[in-house]
């Protein structure tokens, strides 16, 4: 029977998110569809599937994105759904461990993609907060002040995410000096 859950994860919590999805799979709830902050689960045998989440290079609906999904499918990886460029994938646990990026180079490339996604969002929010607060101070508008503060809060959260992922990138780069 299909069950719907609402849950919120920050972008930098993608590892926590996939741990939660895999914990659900271990209990017999297999993710079968996703939406923004919404997860649909179907009954599966406990531990039948291992799940993975990745920020793909291309939109799943684009030609390149579809090519990637077809390739994964050939390798026994099933596409479950996507939220923008984030794709949710699963593989039968019996087919062995499920890793998409085993080597440091492709792990680094994945983290860099996430940072490149976040940076424009951060700068856009900083710029919007400047415009709103500037307008609020000149025209004593409470509405603009509120929106400006929200923008500032958003840019701080995204900035925090960028720093967290930046730390991970630095750690992997150090590792990369020693081995692949």
């Amino acid at each position: 029977m299909k069950q719907k859950f609402h849950k919120w994860f920050w972008v930098w919590e993608f590892e926590k998110e996939i741990r939660w999805i895999n914990d659900m799979a271990a209990k017999g709830f297999g993710l079968c569809h996703v939406g923004l902050c919404t997860y649909w689960f179907d009954d599966i045998k406990p531990g039948e599937y291992t799940y993975h989440l990745e920020l793909a290079e291309n939109q799943p609906l684009s030609e390149k994105g579809q090519e990637y999904l077809d390739f994964l499918n050939e390798c026994g990886v099933e596409y479950v759904g996507n939220v923008l460029r984030w794709i949710y994938l699963r593989k039968k646990a019996a087919d062995g461990p499920f890793e998409l990026h085993a080597d440091l180079d492709s792990k680094l490339a994945h983290l860099r993609r996430i940072v490149l996604l976040l940076l424009p969002v951060m700068f856009l929010n900083i710029w919007a907060s400047y415009l709103n607060i500037h307008h609020a101070l000149n025209h004593s508008s409470d509405g603009n002040l509120f929106v400006g503060m929200m923008n500032l809060w958003c840019s701080a959260m995204v900035g925090y995410a960028v720093v967290r992922i930046g730390i991970q990138i630095r750690r992997l780069k150090k590792e990369r000096q020693l081995h692949e």
Partner: protein, 108 residues
């Protein structure tokens, strides 16, 4: 860039070896695992990226699809073979130097 001097990643090395015969993606994964006695398991995402980069560089080329499954197959090119031979020579040098020096040190 002098391709003869830079090391290949383990994944790229095994992909090139696998493609001495035409193979599709999953075939490359299986062959690599078998050849390395289960030690090297190529991750699907890494494999996809490596195949595309090697296609761009002309180290491998697409050679049609497998008749039954319609999976895309790839095979190594002359350039790819030259890269592979260069890498084997480099690996041999590493192993030779390592073995010689270790033997010398242990002997004295």
């Amino acid at each position: 860039m002098n391709i003869g001097n830079s090391a290949l990643t383990e994944a790229v090395y095994y992909i090139l070896l696998s493609l001495l015969e035409p193979r599709h993606g999953y075939g490359i994964m299986q062959f690599t695992e078998q050849l390395s006695g289960g030690r090297v398991r190529l991750a699907a995402g890494t494999l996809y990226g490596a195949i595309n980069t090697m296609l761009e560089k002309g180290w491998i080329e697409a050679c049609g699809t497998e008749p039954n499954t319609r999976k895309k197959e790839y095979v190594i090119t002359q350039t790819g073979t030259a890269v592979l031979l260069g890498e084997i020579a480099r690996l041999e040098e590493l192993a030779r130097n390592g073995r010689q020096l270790i033997e010398q040190v242990i002997r004295y």
